[in-house]
C-alpha cells in the first residue's frame, strides 16, 4: 500500500545552516519550556525573561559582566570540544579549573617577589600543568586499562573542590580575612589587567587566541586530522597506524589545560585570590556550550557569550526571588532540545509516497 504520509528519510551531510537553525531553535524551545514551568509555579515568564535579558544585555555593566562570565565558559568549553571531538568524555573541567586556580594561586601567594612579566606567565604555566595533569589522572587509566574516563573525570571534580576548600578553610586562609574561606589577596603583579577602560580582564583575549589556535590545530594540522579520525572511527584510525593511546593522553592534557587556564583567569582576573565556591559550575555549563557550538571553536566562543548572559540573567532574577537553579534547569533543557533536534541533521521530513509495503 502506498499512502501519502509524512515520513523521515535518511540524509547525507546536513547543510550548515540547519545545524545553526537547530541550535537556535533548541534555545527558543528551552525558553518556551521554561516559560510553561514558570507559569505552573506562579511566575510571569515575560517578566522573568525580560529581567534576565535586561540584566545580561541591557546595560554597559550587564554586558561587561556577561563578557566576564563568558571567559571561563569559553576556555572550558574549548577544552571540552577538543576532547569530545575524539569522543573522550572529559567532564572534569570543573575540577581541572579548580586545580588550575590552585596552582596559579600557589605561584602568586608564595612568590610575590616575581616581576609581572614573570609572575603572570608563571601562573598561567602552573595552571596549564595543573589542569592538564589533573585530566591525566583519568586519561592514564583510560589509555592503558580502558577505565571509563567519564566517571573518573567527574569524581575528580569533587576531590579538586575539596582540596581547594581544605586550603582556603585551613592552611592558606587569610589571617586578616575575618574568617572567610579565602586566601590573602594577590600582589598587583599577579592580577590580570583590564582591557582599556572596561571592566573586562585580558582573559578574554587569551580565550579568543585559544579559540583561533584550537581552530588551526583541529582543522589545519595533521594532529587535528588524527583527532577527528579517531573520533569518527577508532578502527579506521588504528588501521591508519594512528597512536590512539598517545592521542588520548595528549588530548586530555590539552583539554584539562584549557580548563586550568579558565581557573587562573578567574583568580588572576576576577577574585585576585583563591576562594571557596570559585566557580558556579562553569565546568558543567561548558559541556553544554561545547555541544551547542558543535565542537567548533568559533561557535563555542559565540555560545559562551550567550550562556554568560544566561548566568548574569540568573543572578538578576534572584533579586526577584527566583532560585539560581532556574538557570541550570534551562541549560539542561537547551541540551535536551538540541539532542532531539539533531535527529533533523540525520533525517529529513518528507511528505510523499513511501515506497514498499508495510
Amino acid at each position: 500500500m502506498n499512502n501519502k504520509i509524512l515520513f523521515l528519510e535518511k540524509r547525507g551531510a546536513a547543510p550548515a545552516y540547519l545545524s545553526f537553525l537547530i541550535a537556535l531553535l533548541s534555545v527558543v524551545f528551552a525558553l518556551l519550556f521554561g516559560a510553561v514551568f514558570l507559569i505552573l509555579t506562579g511566575h510571569n515568564p515575560v517578566d522573568v525573561y525580560s529581567l534576565m535579558f535586561g540584566g545580561a544585555f541591557g546595560s554597559a555593566y550587564g554586558l561587561s559582566e556577561t563578557a566576564t562570565k563568558a571567559i571561563p565558559l569559553m576556555l572550558a568549553g574549548l577544552g571540552g570540544s577538543i576532547a569530545f571531538k575524539m569522543l573522550l568524555w572529559n567532564i572534569g573541567a570543573e575540577g581541572q579549573l579548580y586545580m588550575g586556580a590552585f596552582a596559579a594561586s600557589y605561584v602568586a601567594l608564595f612568590h610575590p617577589e616575581l616581576p609581572i612579566y614573570i609572575m603572570l606567565p608563571a601562573m598561567f604555566l602552573a595552571a596549564v600543568v595543573a589542569g592538564g595533569v589533573w585530566a591525566l589522572v583519568s586519561a592514564v587509566p583510560r589509555a592503558y586499562l580502558g577505565v571509563n574516563e567519564t566517571i573518573t573525570s567527574l569524581l575528580l571534580n569533587y576531590v579538586a573542590i575539596l582540596w581547594v576548600d581544605y586550603l582556603v578553610y585551613g592552611p592558606w586562609k587569610d589571617p586578616k580575612g575575618f574568617n572567610f574561606p579565602l586566601t590573602a589577596p594577590f600582589v598587583e603583579a599577579a592580577q590580570l589587567p583590564y582591557i582599556g577602560s572596561t571592566r573586562i580582564h585580558y582573559g578574554l583575549v587569551i580565550g579568543l587566541v585559544g579559540a583561533v589556535l584550537l581552530y588551526f590545530v583541529l582543522n589545519r594540522s595533521r594532529w587535528g586530522y588524527e583527532i577527528r579520525v579517531i573520533g569518527e572511527s577508532q578502527k579506521a584510525a588504528q588501521y591508519g597506524g594512528m597512536n590512539i593511546r598517545r592521542n588520548i593522553l595528549l588530548v586530555m592534557f590539552l583539554s584539562g589545560a584549557f580548563a586550568g587556564i579558565a581557573g587562573v583567569s578567574e583568580v588572576a582576573g576576577i577574585t585576585h585570590r583563591l576562594q571557596h565556591g570559585l566557580s558556579p559550575g562553569y565546568g558543567y555549563t561548558a559541556i553544554i556550550i561545547a555541544w551547542l557550538g558543535k565542537l567548533h571553536p568559533a561557535a563555542v566562543v559565540i555560545v559562551s557569550f550567550l550562556f554568560g548572559g544566561l548566568l548574569v540573567g540568573g543572578y538578576t532574577i534572584q533579586t526577584a526571588g527566583l532560585p539560581a537553579a532556574t538557570v541550570s534547569m534551562l541549560q539542561g533543557a537547551v541540551l535536551f532540545f538540541l539532542l532531539g533536534g539533531e535527529l533533523l541533521n540525520r533525517y529529513r521530513i518528507r511528505l510523499g509516497f513511501r515506497k514498499g509495503g508495510n
Binding site: I151, V159, Y166, T326, S328, L330, G332, F336, E342
Partner: protein, 310 residues
C-alpha cells in the same frame, strides 16, 4: 576497636550503602537493556526533592517515597525519548539529565531548605532476626526501605537471569537486532527499562532525604549518582554483586564520619574525599578484572538501535 563499634560501623555501612544500592540496581536494569543513563545524579536529586516535598505536605514518608519513584521515572522518560526514539548520544543526554535534574531540584526545593522532615523512615528491629548475633544488629535493625531492598535484590536477580522477560531484557542489550528479528519489541522494552531505572534512582534519592539525612539540601546527593554508575561496572551488571559493592562504598562513606567523630587528626576535607578516591581506585581495579575475565558491558550498551541499519 570493640565489638559494639564494629557493629555500629557495619550497620552504618548498610544504611549509607542503601541509596547507592537502589540507584545501582536501577542502572543495572537500564544498562542491561542497552541504554547508558548517566543522569542518575539528576534523577536522584529529583527524587530526593519530590519525596521530601510530598512527605512534608502529606506528613507521610510513604507518599514521599512513592512520589519520588514517580518523579524519577518521569524525568528518566526524557532520556528514554532522546536515546531510544531520537537516537541521541546517550552520554550527552545523560549529562543533560543530570544538569537538568540538579536545576529542577534546586528550583523546586528552594523553600524547603532547612525545614526538618516531620515524619521519616526510622529504624525498627525485625522480630527474631534482630536477635541473631552480629548479623541481627547490622542487617535487621534498619528502616523499612532497607528491608525492602533486601527483597528487591533477589527479585531483580531472578527476573534478569531466570525468567523469559529477563532473557528478553538481556537480549535487547546484547544484540537488539537479533532480538528484534525474533519479535521482541526493542523500542518499547527499552523505554520501560529506562523508566524502571529512573524510578529506582528516584527512590534512592528519597532514601537520602527521608531516611539517611532527613532534610532537603541543594545537591545533597554529592556525587552518589556517579558512584552508583561506577558501582554497576564493579558489580559486572549483576544485582547480587551490587549489594556487596554498595555496602563497601557505604562503609567508606560511614567510616569517614566515624573517624571525624573519633577526633582523628585528619582534616574533614580529606575524609570527605575518601568515597570519590576509593571509587576511582575500585573502578580501575574492577575494569582490569573484567577485561581479564572477558565479562564486560552489555554488547550494545550506549549504542542507538536503528532498524534500518540492522
Amino acid at each position: 576497636m570493640d565489638g559494639n563499634m564494629l557493629i555500629g560501623i557495619l550497620a552504618a555501612a548498610v544504611t549509607a550503602g542503601t541509596p547507592l544500592l537502589y540507584a545501582a540496581l536501577g542502572e543495572i536494569i537500564t544498562e542491561r537493556a542497552g541504554i547508558l543513563n548517566l543522569g542518575v545524579e539528576g534523577m536522584m536529586l529529583t527524587g530526593a526533592v519530590t519525596g521530601f516535598i510530598v512527605a512534608v505536605s502529606t506528613g507521610n514518608p510513604w507518599f514521599g517515597a512513592l512520589a519520588a519513584i514517580l518523579a524519577g521515572g518521569a524525568v528518566s522518560l526524557i532520556h528514554a525519548i532522546l536515546s531510544v526514539t531520537f537516537q541521541a548520544n546517550q552520554v550527552v543526554s545523560g549529562l543533560a539529565l543530570t544538569i537538568f535534574g540538579t536545576g529542577l531540584s534546586g528550583y523546586l526545593g528552594k523553600s524547603y531548605i532547612g525545614i526538618p522532615a516531620p515524619q521519616t523512615f526510622s529504624k525498627f528491629p525485625l522480630p527474631v532476626l534482630a536477635d541473631i548475633p552480629l548479623i541481627g544488629p547490622v542487617l535487621f535493625n534498619q528502616d523499612a526501605l532497607v528491608y525492602f531492598s533486601y527483597l528487591l535484590v533477589p527479585v531483580i536477580w531472578f527476573y534478569i537471569y531466570k525468567t523469559k522477560h529477563g532473557l528478553n531484557l538481556r537480549a535487547i542489550g546484547e544484540n537488539p537486532g537479533a532480538a528484534d528479528a525474533v519479535g521482541i519489541n526493542v523500542f518499547v522494552l527499552r523505554y520501560i527499562y529506562v523508566v524502571i531505572g529512573g524510578m529506582l534512582a528516584g527512590l534512592a534519592g528519597a532514601y537520602l532525604s527521608l531516611a539517611y539525612a532527613p532534610a532537603w539540601l541543594e545537591n545533597m546527593t554529592a556525587g552518589r549518582g556517579w558512584i552508583a554508575v561506577a558501582l554497576v561496572i564493579f558489580a559486572t551488571w549483576n544485582p547480587l554483586k551490587a549489594v556487596g559493592g554498595a555496602y563497601l562504598f557505604g562503609g567508606v562513606d560511614a567510616l569517614g564520619y566515624r573517624m571525624q567523630a573519633m577526633g582523628l587528626d585528619v582534616s574533614s576535607f580529606f575524609l570527605k574525599m575518601l568515597p570519590y578516591i576509593f571509587t576511582i581506585i575500585v573502578l580501575i581495579f574492577a575494569t582490569t578484572q573484567t577485561n581479564k575475565k572477558h565479562i564486560g558491558a552489555p554488547g550494545a550498551l550506549s549504542l542507538s538501535y536503528d532498524r534500518e541499519e540492522r
